[in-house]
C-alpha cells in the first residue's frame, strides 16, 4: 500500500501481452502500446495530408507539417551542411518519434516511454555508434584526429586524448539523461500534484488540481522542446564527425 501511494508508482510497467523469446522477456506493456498509439497518430496525420493530396496552397494541417519539416531541414542543413540531407529521414523520424512519445504520455493514464532511461539510452548509444561509423567511413583513420584538438602542443597530447574521449562519451550520456530526466521530473510533479489534489479536502483540493492543468500545459512545451533538443544535438554530433573541427 505504501508503494501505491508513491508518486513514482505509475512508472511501473506490467505486461499486457506476454511474449517470451529465447529467455528474453519481450512482453508488450502499456509503454509500448502508448508509443504505438503516438506513432499511429503521427503517421495518420501525414497520411491525412498525403491522401487529400498535397497542394501548392497548403491547408492548416499541411502547412503545420510543412513547417515542422522545413524546421528540421533548416536544422540539418545548418549543423551538418548540404550533404546532411542524407540523414534527413533519420533525423526527421527521430524528432517525430520522440515528440509523439513525449506528447502521448501527457494524456492521463497513458505512459511516456521516453521516461525510461534504457530507451533514451538505447537511442543515444545508437546515435553515438552511428556518428562513429559515419566518421570512420568518411575520414578513415584520419577520423581519430578528432581526439586531438588543433593547436595543442605535443606534450599535452597524452592529457588531451583522455579528456577528448571523456567528452565524446559524455555526449550520449548527457543526451539520454537530459530527455529521461525532463520527462520523469515533469510526470512526477504532475503525479504529486494530482495525488495532493485528490487526497486534500475539497475546499483546498482544487488548487493542486488547477496546478496540474497549468503544469500539463507547461509539460507540452517541454515535450516539444526536449524532442527538438534531442534532434538538434543529434545533428550537432553528426555534423561534428563530418566536419572534424
Amino acid at each position: 500500500m505504501a508503494e501505491k501511494e508513491s508518486p513514482l508508482h505509475h512508472f511501473e510497467l506490467h505486461p499486457i501481452v506476454d511474449i517470451h523469446l529465447g529467455g528474453l522477456d519481450l512482453s508488450i506493456n502499456k509503454a509500448v502500446i502508448a508509443m504505438w498509439i503516438g506513432m499511429a497518430v503521427v503517421y495518420g496525420l501525414f497520411m491525412l495530408v498525403g491522401k487529400k493530396g498535397t497542394s501548392m496552397i497548403p491547408g492548416k494541417l499541411q502547412s503545420m507539417l510543412e513547417m515542422s519539416l522545413e524546421f528540421i531541414k533548416g536544422m540539418v542543413k545548418e549543423f551538418i551542411g548540404d550533404e546532411g540531407m542524407k540523414y534527413f529521414n533519420f533525423v526527421g523520424t527521430l524528432f517525430f518519434f520522440i515528440l509523439c512519445c513525449n506528447l502521448i504520455g501527457l494524456i492521463p493514464g497513458s505512459y511516456t516511454i521516453t521516461s525510461q532511461l534504457v530507451v533514451t539510452g538505447t537511442f543515444a548509444v545508437i546515435i553515438f555508434v552511428m556518428t562513429l561509423i559515419i566518421g570512420i567511413s568518411k575520414h578513415g583513420g584520419h577520423f581519430f584526429s578528432i581526439l586531438v584538438p588543433p593547436g595543442v602542443p605535443k606534450i599535452m597530447i597524452p592529457v588531451m586524448v583522455p579528456i577528448e574521449i571523456i567528452s565524446m562519451l559524455a555526449r550520449p550520456i548527457s543526451l539520454s539523461v537530459r530527455l529521461f530526466a525532463n520527462m520523469t521530473a515533469g510526470h512526477t510533479v504532475l503525479a504529486v500534484l494530482f495525488g495532493l489534489g485528490l487526497s486534500a479536502p475539497m475546499w483546498i483540493g482544487w488548487l493542486p488540481l488547477g496546478f496540474t492543468v497549468i503544469i500539463n500545459g507547461l509539460e507540452i512545451a517541454i515535450a516539444v522542446i526536449q524532442a527538438y533538443i534531442f534532434t538538434t544535438l543529434t545533428c550537432v554530433y553528426i555534423g561534428d564527425v563530418i566536419k572534424l573541427h
Binding site: L8, H9, F11, E12, L13, P15, I19, L24, D25, L26, S27, I28, N29, A31, V32, M35, W36, M39, V42, Y43, F46, M47, V49, G50, T54, S55, M56, P58, Q62, L65, E66, L69, E70, K73, F88, N89, F90, G92, T93, L94, F96, F97, I113, S115, Q116, L117, V118, V119, T122, F123, I126, F180, T184
Partner: protein, 171 residues
Amino acid sequence: MPQFEQVSVFSSLIFWSVISFVALLFLLKKFAFPPILEILDAREKKIRDDIEGAEKINQDAEKLKADFDRQLKTAHEKANDIIQLAHDSSKKETEKSLQDTQGKVRQMIKEAEHEIQASRNKLLSEIRSYTAALTIASTERILKKAMDEKEQKRVVDETIEEVIQELEKRA
C-alpha cells in the same frame, strides 16, 4: 525509481522501441516525407521562377521602353531634318526663281533694246534707201523733162510730196 528497479521490462522496452523506430523510419521515409518535401521544393522553385519571370518581364518592359524612347527620338530628329530640308529647299527654290525671273527680265530688256536698235537701224537704212531712190527718181524725172525751170521745180516738189506720202503711209 521503477525505471531503474524494474529490470525485467528493459529488454521488451528496448526491443519494441527500436523495432518501432525502424518501422516508423521506414514508413515516414517511404510514404510520409516525400510528398511534403516535394511540395516544399516545388513551391520554392515556383516562387523562384515567378520572381525570375517577373524580373525578366520587367527587364523586357524596360528594354521596350528604351527602344520606344529611342525610336521616338530618332523620329523627332528625322522630322526636324525633314522640316529643315524643306525649309532649305523652299528657300533655295525661291531664290532660284527670283534669280531666274531677274535673269529673264534682264534678258527681255536686253532683247527689247536690241530690237529697238535693230528697228532703228532698219529704219535708218530704209530712209537712206528711200532717199537714194528718191534722189535717183527725182534726178531721173528732172533729166527726163529736162527742162524749164518751172517744170523742174514742180517735178521736184511733186516727188518730195510723193516720197513724204509714201513715208507717212509706211510709218
